[in-house]
Symmetry: C2
Subunit: 547 residues, 2 copies
């Protein structure tokens, strides 16, 4: 335990130093582009990436030789959708880099050879990272490294932690660069060309990552270069998201190093979806999704014409004002039903879950901050036209929706998943049923719990299963609500991801706070908001399945 | 436990909303001074202060009626120096407000009556808060509120937590306002008057908190007004520090609500200082302190004259470059001695201590960030003169010093305090000795520890006490090192607190990053650095006493 603490301390210090050095580098690039150029930052990041890559490869090799290396699995962590989305975003990021290489090669004359090297390193880095995530089943293969290290067998003890932290710091810096690079670019762009450029940017999916070298080295008028450029621009947001997700996954892995999990039953009961159980939620959610996509299309077409921009904004905000209270009501109803439920609260300490909760709360802060800034701006200027009233209502409902949804998800995650086996297991006589009940009631070695309480939990759970073997109305309602919220959150994820940023386009807050301030707020808040939607989809799916 | 979690969640959400709303208010004031003025922000903060005040008064009344209310004391939390410094800073803050009232009254014609009301509310707020800190013995009187609430006797359950969080949010916003208000002011000031104003500011102890109303309403040429103004300016940094300290104390109290502490023995063995035990450290430390104060005086005189500014900087940086490696070596030696020691590591979970560690690490980030930014600026511009080389060495040694000192303090805090009673207690026969040993070895109810291990710890500790009843060289060395570091940290605390900010004055980074960026970095980093020095003094004193 002592060595574990020391390892945490040293790897944490390592990450801190790397992140600060990287921040200083990136800030220098932003505020003093002459002394430190984007290329210097890329070289610095490439060194970090190569170091992380070495660690990942060494680690994969070290553990693949021992097929029995995976001693402990944290069955709570890394459900299939988290890993699925990671693979999806990783694949998109790799595709993005391929497009980037194509784009760079298609006008090689005015590019240095070095610039083609960077995306190649990126591809290797992302590829091995995703491979590591998939194979380190439920992020706990690393426990092995620590266990082995403690026995002095193979690895130096702080090695797994330091490697993880280094990779995490690299991902964090990549995210920071993506966010700020974008800021700078937009700033330069719009200060040069004004509103016209802004409108064209909106149609270009808003994120324009290619630096100001585009002006000095334009795309040759071939179809292939245009395709590469379009693809690159389209995929850019996915890369930003990928950095955030892999950061949080690495943090979970780091937390899990050396954690002992007593019950490594991988017989995690996987309850199946039954379509008829979630029909109403599915229909309502699909309606919301389809309407959302229509609104998105209309917005993208109308916002390019300055004549119909106002209408596009009214449409967008009206949609949100209808949808958000519905979601709030759903989450509130769900919270109340949770209170009425017979299922016991799972108060056993679970690091993965508390991390989930922290990430959920932390990611919500981005959108909440934007909303509060909007509210103050609108209340202070006190305009009386329709659009500003809509924005005010929208901001307030957004805050309420985030808070209620968070409470609903947190409540749901703290309920014990139900033992589905209503058959012979209810007799609780055989050792098998005993074991499964144990694995459900406690993921952790919990010597704090006396035997009687555990027994009580188990019998309680069993009697509940017996009486409510079929779905009662509460569980059905919870499933319906979760599915509805899942689809709504997907809708609200699609919109900002593909370049719908009315918070920036409507101009009210921009004129109130000034261009660059509002820009900084939106550019840090929005990616977090997008991440929040993704993360809450994962949480809601878990609530849906476990209820 | 469930209600406790819910209380934490709700009070956390409350604080989050208040902080974001306040941030939006303060940002609006900064970036759009027309729509939202400083007065609006003061009104908003006064409302928060009054609410917090109501809670504090109600709480003090509610618990003072029950003399036996203090059921649980967290003897680890709130040592006498933390509370002492809190009282000192609180008193300074109240004095500051008194000066402010005097200053406002002395030119009442051009001030509104409302402006005199604000400092009055401040005085009440700070006074009751300090009173609450002192009487809520070791921050755990609040446990009572929670206990009572659970029994439904007197208080609604989330009430103590919400009150604490509201007060904490208010303090945080006050700190933010103090920091940013200063920023804005300096910016306006220097853009108006240029370098001349900056130099005069340095002599005015750098923190000029009185807004730009000074220009429209100058101090009448009476001695009393000048005295009030000087006193106000001199005491300003203390108020900033007070906000930070009370924030962290409130956070500790919030964490302690509802925590059960089994052994409420207030017979906390208070080891005495013996002068001869720490003689060498004291002498060395005092030398450093006196030299530091001399350097400080010379700097303050020389930096006002532009001819001798360069020399002042060289002097300042040379002093640091000599002192910091000494401190680093001391901390390293201490860490090695800790490793050699026979005292057991105290791995029992202790929320107060982990919080101490987090605060220490968090506060260090401010100075480390500044140093990294300096390093990148210097390396990128690559100047070859003496001063810049000094700054580079200074920044690097500052980072190393922070890290090594943190490791030393954390190691020291995790050592078990030694049972000092070498007399009859070593026979461990009586129930008294048994109890004291218990209270030393575990502050928490630790059912995780089986009886044998505890027995082992106890006998180990006793045998150690028996063999090393007198100070052996290791303990003596630890004491000497801690005292030396305490005095060094006090020196390094005095310098920035009373307005020595060469990081801002030397101009290198300012020209590299641009005025406002470097200003923001320094203005957020420096107060944290000052807080770090204070906090590490407290930590080092604890290490010194317990070793």
């Amino acid at each position: 335990e002592v060595w574990g603490k020391a390892g945490q301390l040293f790897s944490g210090l390592l990450a801190m130093n790397v992140v600060f050095l990287g921040c200083a580098f990136i800030s220098s690039m932003i505020f003093n582009g002459v002394a430190i150029t984007l290329r210097d930052v890329w070289i610095f990041l490439s060194i970090l990436k190569l170091l992380s890559l070495c660690w990942t490869v060494y680690y994969l090799l070290g553990t693949s030789r021992k097929p029995h290396a995976v001693l402990f699995r944290d069955s709570h962590a890394g459900p299939v959708w988290v890993r699925g989305s990671l693979v999806l975003f990783g694949a998109c990021s790799i595709l993005l880099k391929v497009f980037r290489i194509g784009y760079d090669i298609s006008h090689i004359p005015c590019k240095s050879q070095l610039q083609i090297l960077f995306p190649c390193i990126d591809i290797l880095f992302i590829g091995f990272q995703v491979w590591n995530f998939i194979t380190s089943s439920s992020y706990s293969r690393l426990s092995y490294g620590w266990e082995a290290g403690k026995r002095g067998v193979q690895m130096l003890f702080p090695f797994p932690r330091c490697g993880l932290m280094l990779t995490m710091a690299t991902d964090l810096l990549l995210w920071l660069l993506a966010v700020t690079n974008d800021t700078v670019h937009r700033e330069i762009e719009s200060s040069l060309k004004g509103i016209a450029a802004l409108i064209s940017q909106v149609t270009l999916f808003s994120f324009l990552p290619i630096g100001n070298e585009t002006s000095s080295c334009p795309c040759p008028n071939t179809a292939i270069c245009r395709v590469f450029q379009k693809g690159y621009l389209l995929l850019y947001p996915f890369n930003t998201e990928y950095c955030l997700i892999s950061c949080s996954m690495l943090y979970v892995m780091w937390k899990n190093v050396g954690r002992r999990i007593a019950h490594q039953h991988t017989t995690h009961a996987t309850p199946k979806f039954k379509l008829h159980e979630v029909f109403a939620g599915l229909v309502l959610g699909t309606c919301a999704l389809i309407t959302g996509i229509c609104i998105f299309m209309i917005y993208q077409i109308q916002a390019t014409r300055s004549a119909s921009r106002q209408e596009a904004f009214v449409l967008y905000y009206s949609y949100y004002i209808v949808l958000l209270p519905l979601m709030t009501m759903g989450a509130l109803a769900g919270t109340i039903i949770h209170g009425l439920e017979e299922r016991e609260l799972d108060t056993v300490k679970n690091p993965t879950r508390s991390l989930d909760v922290i990430l959920l709360m932390g990611a919500a802060l981005g959108q909440i901050a934007i909303s509060y800034f909007s509210i103050v701006a609108i209340v202070a200027t006190n305009p009386r036209d329709l659009l500003n009233r809509l924005i005010l209502t929208y901001s307030v409902s957004l805050i309420i929706q985030h808070i209620t949804q968070n409470i609903f998800i947190i409540e749901g995650l703290h309920r014990q998943p139900l033992a589905e086996d209503t058959g012979p297991a209810t007799q609780h006589s055989g050792p098998l049923s005993d074991e499964t009940a144990m694995s459900h009631s406690s993921q952790e070695p919990t010597p704090v719990y006396p035997l009687e309480i555990r027994q009580e939990i188990r019998t309680g759970s069993h009697s509940y299963t017996r009486t409510c073997g079929r779905l009662n109305w509460k569980r059905k309602a919870l499933k319906e609500i979760s599915i509805f919220l899942v689809l709504c959150n997907i809708t609200l994820w699609i919109m900002p991801t593909f370049g719908m940023h009315p918070a920036f386009d409507n101009g009210l807050e921009k004129s109130f706070y000034g261009y660059s301030t509002w820009f900084a707020i939106v550019n840090f808040g929005l990616p977090m908001g997008v991440f929040y939607r993704m993360h809450s989809v994962a949480g809601l799916l878990e609530v849906c399945v476990s209820s």
